[in-house]
């Protein structure tokens, strides 16, 4: 397996707040890696720094053997790395279809685009039913599906998913995570950020536990599930 992404000593500072204190990790091609941790642990900041939404104050991000640190987000997106932001980043005034078309803005492989579009509608039949609806009118779960579908439409092979379970009912969460698994089986590499630790660990191959902007622990997801420290980080030690 080859490392598709390597992050070295990534540091992010917002004004006076140090959100990331220098974290390092890697992702192999075809993996699902999850970063779990409490609110404010620096999970979202990690994704933002990778996808160019914020400029890291130091550190390096390498993607497919290219240094993408400090590239603007639209150029990073064109490398095949797509970030589904926290809160789903809906463009509420655009219809479902327009959201999807938008994502293909930089693609020239029209035949493949068409194929991908069909694939997305196949994966998410609910989106197909609501093609012409403004995405603002979708339910939370549908919006999450659209956000993922949109990321796929950019032609990305690597997805950064920021809290896909946020604000969703358990049944829907289950559905979303099934999709994530399917996508992985279809060959996508996925970096998943979650508060919903158990679900995330059950889905991922490997995991990193973040606390206060630093990696607390890492390892195979299966090993971490039973780790008391993980439980402690969430529920308090007993």
């Amino acid at each position: 397996m080859t490392k598709i992404m390597e992050v070295e000593d990534l540091e992010v500072v917002y004004g006076v707040i140090k959100a990331l204190q220098g974290i390092s990790f890697y992702i192999d091609e075809g993996e699902i890696v999850t970063i779990i941790g409490a609110n404010g642990a620096g999970k979202s900041s990690t994704l933002r720094a990778i996808s160019g939404m914020v400029r890291p104050s130091s550190g390096k991000v390498r993607f497919k053997n290219k240094d993408i640190t400090n590239s603007p987000s639209h150029l990073i997106a064109r490398q095949g790395l797509s970030h589904v932001p926290e809160g789903r980043g809906m463009l509420t005034k655009l219809t479902v279809e327009e959201n999807l078309i938008l994502a293909t803005y930089n693609r020239k492989d029209h035949a493949k685009v068409k194929e991908d579009m069909e694939e997305v509608y196949k994966q998410f039949p609910r989106l197909s039913e609501r093609k012409k609806q403004a995405s603002g009118n979708l339910s939370g779960g549908e919006q999450q599906m659209l956000a993922i579908g949109r990321a796929l439409m950019t032609g990305a092979d690597t997805l950064l998913l920021d809290e896909p379970s946020m604000g969703l009912a358990p049944l829907i969460v289950k559905e979303i995570f099934e999709v994530i698994k399917r996508l992985n089986q279809a060959g996508k590499t996925i970096l998943l950020v979650e508060q919903n630790a158990m679900t995330a660990l059950n889905t991922a191959h490997r995991a990193y536990i973040l606390e206060n902007g630093a990696v607390l622990k890492s390892g195979l997801a299966a090993d971490l599930i039973s780790d008391p420290e993980v439980k402690a980080a969430y529920l308090g030690g007993h």
């Binding site: 004004g15 404010g40 809290e163 630790a197 059950n202």
Partner: protein, 246 residues
């Protein structure tokens, strides 16, 4: 007699129910925790108590006085103070000035002499360890200090009820520990005060709170002492997620 009594509170955003049929009772002098994941409706609850939003239905009483329909500043004058999850300091004002703003309406009531008030500011600043940077602009303080300043500013209004919205967000373990000590010290010095704090980290709640409520999707899913809650299966499920997927 409850200090804060919330009855059948409902709040809608557009067509979405952010809070539904919420009931919470807080006894005086308690430290009370409201726990829940992101999007569970905790901040909305605070916004409803402090009059930033008006509830769609339901009642909120402070010491028997209804808060529904009152403006934020009126509620503050009745003795409710709060902090914000995403810090809302007066960034261009100094630390002292930030706290002074908190004192203003007290001063207007004429109950205090200016001298007493500046003594109070001094003790607050000392308590929160802000004395070395008292004349600095709030926006230039390090993050942890900004969090503390917000609490100090809220305390300056001399509230009966202090609402803390994720006071530990973004702090490192050492800072969190300091914060816990600080809140305990506040409770010791202001013995009459009642504190309600929003938190999603059990850790903090565990060390501080007498009693807690867990929220999920705008509803209360559990009530009780911290220990009861930690062992409540519904809470564990909501917190750690489904044990099995697929």
């Amino acid at each position: 007699m409850e200090l804060l009594e919330i009855k059948e509170l409902n709040h809608m955003f557009g067509g979405l129910k952010a809070i539904s049929s919420l009931n919470i009772n807080v006894k005086p002098k308690m430290i009370y925790g409201v726990i829940g994941a992101n999007g569970a409706g905790k901040t909305t609850l605070f916004n409803l108590i402090t009059g930033i939003y008006q509830p769609t239905a339901g009642q909120i009483f402070l010491d028997g006085t209804s808060l529904v329909g009152k403006q934020s500043y009126e509620i503050s004058r009745l003795g409710v103070a709060r902090t914000f999850q995403n810090l809302r300091l007066f960034n261009d004002l100094t630390v002292v000035e930030n706290i002074q703003v908190g004192q203003i309406h007290r001063r207007r009531l004429g109950k205090h002499k200016t001298k007493d008030l500046s003594v109070k500011i001094e003790s607050l600043i000392k308590l929160f360890g802000l004395d070395v940077r008292a004349e600095e602009k709030a926006g230039n303080l390090p993050y942890g200090m900004q969090r503390k300043l917000e609490i100090a500013r809220a305390l300056a209004t001399e509230p009966k009820l202090l609402l803390l919205d994720e006071p530990a967000a973004g702090m490192n373990p050492k800072e969190v520990q300091g914060l816990v000590g600080l809140i305990k010290e506040v409770k010791r010095q202001y013995s009459d005060i009642t504190i309600v704090l929003i938190e999603h980290q059990m850790k903090l709640v565990e060390g501080l709170c007498d009693y807690a409520t867990v929220m999920n999707f705008g509803q209360v899913i559990a009530n009780g002492t911290v220990e009861e809650i930690q062992n409540n299966p519904v809470v564990i499920k909501a917190y750690l997620g489904e044990a099995e997927v697929g």
